[in-house]
């Protein structure tokens, strides 16, 4: 009896297991394996090569002409810059998204529906098109630049092709990912708690800090992860709005699989990116489980 139940369970699990193994396990394993190989002379993967950590070492060190390993900061800088860019974007999304989500939750039913629609509408447009739109908005002879130059007394403003442009583009692209989880928290929020805080002598600002923010934390964490993680790997926005000058991790990976035709190295960078994301998520999970009520 027992055995047959166990067998049944396994059989029922098979489709799900199959999907996971086939669509996640195999590609990931393949990527991990490729990252340990070398590229072949004909710009593919040299499947015959003996696996080694060469690609990972190359992220940090390079061989100079004498055959010594010296520090190569290129990729380290890109890593740091990507993390920084993603962090800044996440922060911007939070600062912009929090009031919007709060405001949305306080609207009438119809108002909320309309706002949800407006927030999600950009998803229906191609990412490339949306980034080109920003290209037009921020361009040097555009009116945004013209207006800003009038207002800004210290020399001409350059809006496009820098880190700020990338931050603007990324914030725009990922803002809905911050607003939606925050909104779902505030939609269920018990507003009487704010009244209780005011009643107990807290000013509006203090009530926000002591009651609203702590209770919105799950939404803040979820939104931040949803913004931070895809931001790390973003490549369209930095390529277009950063003008190629400001490469992020996503651009490196794209270049390795594309023009550079160095799949093993691209795979290694991808694996490192994955590791960073896992580390961030694990840290978040640990931090939350420690904060959770005993």
């Amino acid at each position: 009896m027992m055995q047959s139940a166990a067998v049944r369970q396994l059989v029922l699990l098979l489709p799900a297991l199959g999907v996971i193994v086939l669509l996640i396990g195999v590609p990931l394993g393949l990527m991990g394996w490729v990252s340990l190989l070398e590229k072949s002379a004909s710009a593919g993967v040299d499947w015959q090569a003996s696996p080694g950590a060469g690609n990972y070492l190359r992220l940090v060190w390079e061989e100079d002409f004498d055959g010594r390993m010296i520090l190569n900061p290129t990729y380290l800088v890109i890593f740091l810059r990507s993390v920084l860019q993603a962090a800044v974007t996440t922060l911007l999304c939070l600062v912009l998204g929090l009031p919007v989500a709060l405001w949305m939750a306080g609207l009438t039913r119809t108002g909320r529906m309309v706002m949800l629609l407006l927030v999600t509408i950009p998803f229906w447009t191609n990412l490339l098109v949306r980034n080109y739109a920003w290209l037009i908005i921020l361009r040097e002879d555009g009116w945004t630049t013209a207006v800003l130059n009038r207002l800004w007394p210290f020399g001409p403003v350059q809006l496009l092709y820098n880190d700020a442009a990338v931050a603007i583009g990324l914030t725009y692209s990922f803002l809905p990912f911050m607003i939606l989880p925050l909104y779902s928290v505030f939609e269920k929020f018990d507003w009487r708690l704010i009244e209780a805080a005011l009643d107990l002598g807290a000013t509006r600002r203090r009530a926000l800090r002591r009651v609203v923010l702590p209770l919105a934390l799950p939404g803040i964490v979820a939104g931040s992860l949803l913004v931070f993680i895809p931001c790390l790997g973003a490549f369209v926005t930095p390529a277009l709005l950063g003008g190629g000058k400001t490469a992020m991790l996503g651009n490196v990976i794209q270049a390795q699989f594309g023009p550079a035709r160095n799949w093993p190295f691209g795979a290694a960078v991808s694996i490192v990116l994955l590791a960073i994301m896992l580390a961030v998520m694990t840290a978040m999970a640990l931090w939350r489980s420690r904060r959770a009520p005993r």
């Binding site: 009487r192 708690l193 005011l198 009643d199 107990l200 702590p214």
Partner: protein, 352 residues
């Protein structure tokens, strides 16, 4: 000049909505609530009692009129500048804080040192006998325990006035009875003015020093529970509080009131015309047919445990309840004729 009252409300009005769809929730309400008084706002839902409480707390602002607390005009002051605290109907405890942190919330906002906050939060919890639960979260408490914590939280900052918005309505009957007694004791101990909102007339009568019965945004009648119960001035008040018999009658020019199909009761002071007589079921008595002011038919009798409840039919078809506390009193046959004795001092005459 110091005000002898804890809360003074003068000609306060409040409407919700705008233009055509505006609803007048409070209509020119004036009340003066004394220090250390247990004052209850009683009425059905939608009568404006909760809105009045929220105006005192500062969650809503009045369209007109003034609200003074301990003599100070606080009509426009935000909630955090008012020396009042609220016990919410849903308790509204902070789910992310422990019981102790909940109770200490207001004290921390006052900027008291940590030791002082802990000491006074402990004291407040002791008052409601919840000190053993200081480290728990609200979600780990029963409804009655949450209720106590909500009370302690509102009492901890030592407000001048405590506002209670139907605080017992979520509890089951037995717990509610127990909490009623506790509330009353707590009020005596703390020496604070309580403004209590409820739709439960029994609760209002049990707890209060004074009751204001509200309907449609107005206070219909205000006074000690006994006078509200025994001498209702409005048909609504009479009907809302306890069981009551309402009899259509006609006041005579020479004094006295004539019942339909019956005799004249000597009640003075009524202006001639159509009136309604009100009498509590326990104040009327059954006598031999013809010996009372009117004869009626006994329709039904029910045993209530501590009394008998008789349902009679009057000659004009109206029904009449009699509550007989003397269980040994002779009981007439069902369907039999009885006389109805209505003592003049138990009758209330209301203009119809």
């Amino acid at each position: 000049m110091t005000d002898a009252h804890a809360v003074t409300i003068e000609t306060v009005s409040k409407s919700f909505g705008r233009g055509q769809s505006a609803v007048r929730v409070l209509d020119n309400v004036s009340v003066a609530i004394g220090r250390r008084e247990f004052f209850t706002l009683l009425g059905p839902s939608g009568c404006g009692k909760t809105t009045l409480l929220r105006l005192i707390a500062g969650f809503e602002t009045a369209d007109g009129g003034t609200i003074r607390i301990e003599g100070a005009d606080l009509t426009k002051a935000p909630p955090f500048h008012r020396p009042v605290n609220t016990v919410f109907q849903s308790y509204a405890l902070f789910p992310h804080l422990t019981v102790e942190q909940n109770v200490g919330f207001a004290l921390e906002e006052q900027g008291l040192p940590r030791e002082e906050v802990r000491r006074r939060a402990g004291e407040a919890l002791e008052m409601v006998r919840m000190q053993a639960f200081a480290r728990r979260r609200p979600s780990e408490l029963s409804g009655g325990q949450q209720q106590r914590v909500a009370l302690a939280r509102a009492l901890a900052p030592r407000p001048k006035v405590l506002l209670l918005d139907e605080p017992l309505s979520a509890l089951d009957l037995k717990l509610r009875k127990a909490m009623q007694i506790e509330l009353k004791q707590l009020q005596a101990e703390a020496g604070i003015t309580f403004v209590f909102v409820t739709h439960d007339q029994e609760e209002a009568l049990t707890l209060s020093d004074r009751v204001a019965v509200m309907q449609g945004g107005r206070i219909l009648q205000m006074g000690p529970p006994r006078s509200i119960y025994e001498a209702p001035t409005h048909r609504f008040v009479a009907d809302f509080i306890g069981d009551i018999n309402l009899i259509e009658a006609e006041a005579l020019a020479g004094g006295g009131v004539r019942l339909a199909g019956g005799g004249v009761v000597p009640v003075p002071g009524a202006t001639p015309g159509r009136v309604t007589l009100a009498i509590r079921p326990e104040r009327a008595r059954m006598v031999a047919p013809g010996a009372g002011v009117v004869d009626a038919t006994l329709v039904h009798s029910a045993f209530l445990g501590t009394a008998m409840l008789h349902k009679l039919e009057l000659p004009d078809g109206g029904s009449f309840l009699i509550r007989e506390a003397d269980l040994s009193a002779p009981m007439p046959e069902r369907g039999g004729r009885v006389g109805l004795c209505l003592p003049a001092e138990a009758l209330q005459v209301m203009q119809a």
